[in-house]
């Protein structure tokens, strides 16, 4: 697990590097997530990542994702588990056609302690067992 500011975009982007498991814990992938307080869900990932973790085998009914502009898109929803250096946090994983970035939303953020000090390029993350 690593929290950092990515300088690849301006202004810099708060990122979290986390391992994602499928619910039976037999498939995993390490991903860099943009921390997105505008996203109410757990994680949003591209469909190819979703399928590579077999998350289509652990789905709930679909949800309707609403963008800040009011545009809506259909979202698949599954269960997933995030690994923060050995501490596992279950969350919902979302995907749709055309999603190309990994987002980490408020469903996960409310379960961890995160301190962002952009001016000092400093990010601290703590997860209680």
């Amino acid at each position: 697990m690593k929290a950092y500011f990515s300088q690849s975009e301006k202004p810099k982007v708060p990122m979290l590097d986390v391992t994602v498991y499928n619910p039976p814990l037999n498939k995993k992938v390490r991903l860099n997530f943009i921390i997105d307080t505008g996203f109410a869900g757990g994680i949003l990932i591209p469909l190819d990542t979703y399928v590579s973790l077999n998350l289509h085998l652990f789905e709930s009914t679909k949800k309707v994702g609403k963008l800040a502009t009011g545009i809506t898109i259909e979202l698949r929803v599954s269960k997933a588990i995030l690994d923060f250096d050995g501490i596992k946090i279950p969350c919902h994983a979302y995907t749709s056609l055309g999603v190309s970035k990994n987002l980490l939303g408020r469903e996960v953020l409310e379960k961890i302690k995160l301190t962002c000090i952009p001016k000092q390029d400093k990010m601290l993350v703590e997860v209680d067992p």
């Binding site: 499928n22 619910p23 039976p24 037999n26 943009i34 997105d36 307080t37 505008g38 996203f39 109410a40 869900g41 949003l44 591209p46 469909l47 190819d48 399928v51 077999n54 289509h56 085998l57 652990f58 789905e59 709930s60 009914t61 679909k62 949800k63 309707v64 994702g65 609403k66 963008l67 800040a68 809506t72 898109i73 979202l75 698949r76 269960k79 979302y94 056609l97 055309g98 999603v99 190309s100 970035k101 987002l103 939303g105």
Partner: protein
Amino acid sequence: MEVMGKLVAIKNIDRELYRRVKAIASLEERTIGSIINEALRLWLSLRMDKMYDHWLRIEEAYKENYKVLVEKYDDLCKKCKGKYLVICNGKILGIFNDCKEATLNAYNKCSRHAFVMKIGDSIKEEEIELGFPVSFP
């Protein structure tokens, strides 16, 4: 749909939707044609995703499983609330006491799509707030 030179006639357009688009197009000083082109480009761009075939295959199995879920869910909520339901291949695979057992069964016995749900959870298509940036190709 009829094509006549640069003119394309399309049947069954929702009149109310068309009226609203026309009103907004006028405010934005745009032609209806430019808006239809933009909508068609967006529609196509979503289907240009290299995973579109996967999406269709999952979707086909999802619909089959969803039909079973809707048919049986009220009854299951009365009898087995709090347990975990697995549906795949258009039938109930089993009802399990814990989530791990349910997900293992789904992983080992399902391939195209499966529902793993806690009985009693909502099955309505609810809205969820998406922030930016969600980017499309």
